[in-house]
Amino acid sequence: MKGNLEAERTPGAATAVAAVELDAVAVRFRAKKKEVTALRDVSLSVAPGEFVSIVGPSGCGKSTLLKLVSGLLRPSAGSVRLFGEAVGGTRHDIGYVFQRAALLEWRSARRNILLQAEMRGMPAAEAGRRADELIEMTGLTGFEDALPHELSGGMQQRVALCRALLHRPPVLLMDEPFGALDALTREQMNVELHRIWRETGTTVLLVTHSIAESVYLANRVLVMTARPGTVAEIIDVDLPGSRDYAETMSQPSFAEATGRIRDLLGAATATD
């Protein structure tokens, strides 16, 4: 994030108002006097309310992609736009969920969620109502006063999700949010995230290692190649808007999409 990454933004008018738009983005950084290309020529346009999953081999720059969208990182080349506006610095109109819940150990679940409001200076009453709403939506009722170490991994991640949604961000960035959970909890979280996404209408970018998860949740899946990360293919997921987990798994279009991703990832790692 330091000065070794230079932003070079192409000036010009935004044409279609996409929620997130990446245009020929590249990220290069210097490591041990060698220039490393993390991302090369990545272009992606995400419509408002769309759910896009990003899969790819380890170290292909998936997380870097989310950092670019949030403005935590500036591209070396190309442009990043949020709702037509060039990303110049860290954006505050996003929600971020990491693989580790990153909760403050000394705060209860509810107060961890409210951190978002305190940092933003949101009115306390409104923030409190919104927190209660999210607590109910994510099934955290009864755990509001628990400290993070008293919560299971799934519960902790729910708290992180509530915190990310508190300020009603138009864009939600999720970096392998369920990577550390056991398979069963992960499935439950997938079902809940799907429901929450449909209820909130937020644009979601989800980085994941799970092919099934990427397809089940998304409208489209961005498959990336190994480093330097480029777009291998963007796959349209042909599944209904509201998805039942078991039913979705048995759909021919689900099998088709996961099969295609598996082929692409196999090819990506084979050239490694």
């Binding site: 935590l72 860290t90 505050h92 990153a102 403050l104 400290l147 170490h149």
Partner: protein, 271 residues
């Protein structure tokens, strides 16, 4: 979930459970001490018996109290000043690499100079009063405070800081709500070291030149070959250290209940 023993009875049991071993060891030490002296293995003018020592402590209690207060005052004052300066220095160093690079070698240099060796200099500079003792206590207690606070402030999850950035948090809010509270467990482990060192600092200051304090008491007793008083002074001095250490631990438990409870849990799972 943590298993909280129910009621005050359970808590008492827990305290007993925790403290009987060290108490037993302490009793054993006194027993050995008593055995050595009562069998005349060592002449009493070299090692007085526990009975003689305790006798001196009760007999000369007002004299001892007076000097104990002096040393305690110097220690606490030195410790508090060391904490304030140490925490501030750590904060500045963590937020400015330039300051850190400039200050760190100087701090290290100041740390490796034996305080006992420079204590006479402070007497020359600052006289025989309270100041040189406090200065030595500050110097000796300062280092663990800075090191632990720097470590604490740097131990913050970088993702947490990135998250704060996306929340549009000001540096001050990020410090107050994330960095500072996150650093406290580290700070407290440094404070425990610092408070015991502060006692040493105060006594070293008294050794070099003083007419009051436990360091003075010990030097006097030494000059008069009054070993019972010497032993009494040593005992009281270590008691000051233990009491201050316990007070810091109590403060830690009051301020960081979340940390203490988690640590307790870790202990029960590893046992």
């Amino acid at each position: 979930m943590s298993m909280n023993p129910g009621g005050s009875e359970g808590r008492l049991l827990a305290v007993l459970e925790r403290s009987w071993r060290p108490v037993a060891l302490l009793v054993a030490c006194f027993a050995v001490w008593w055995a050595i002296t009562s069998t005349q293995l060592v002449p009493p003018y070299l090692v007085p018996s526990p009975g003689t020592t305790l006798g001196v402590m009760t007999e000369k209690s007002s004299y001892l109290w007076q000097h104990t207060w002096v040393t305690t005052y110097e220690t606490v004052l030195g410790f508090v000043i060391a904490v304030v300066i140490g925490v501030l220095a750590a904060v500045v160093m963590v937020y400015s690499t330039t300051v850190e690079k400039t200050l760190y070698p100087v701090l290290l240099f100041a740390q490796v100079i034996p305080k006992i060796a420079i204590a006479p200099l402070f007497v020359v500079w600052l006289g025989f009063g309270l100041t040189p003792k406090v200065v030595v206590a500050v110097l000796i207690a300062f280092f663990p405070v800075v090191i632990s606070m720097v470590t604490g402030l740097k131990s913050v999850d970088p993702e947490m800081l990135q998250l704060a950035a996306t929340m549009g948090a000001s540096p001050l809010k990020t410090f107050a709500k994330i960095r500072f509270p996150a650093s406290l467990p580290h700070l407290f482990s440094g404070l425990k070291v610092a408070v015991t060192l502060a006692v040493t600092g105060a006594v070293v200051g008294e050794f070099v030149g003083a007419n009051e304090g436990l360091g003075f008491v010990i030097l006097q007793a030494n000059g008069n070959l009054d070993t019972p008083m010497l032993f009494a002074g040593l005992l009281v001095m270590s008691l000051i250290g233990v009491v201050l250490f316990v007070l810091v631990e109590i403060a830690e438990q009051l301020m960081l209940p979340w940390h203490a409870s988690r640590r307790g849990e870790a202990a029960t799972t590893t046992l």
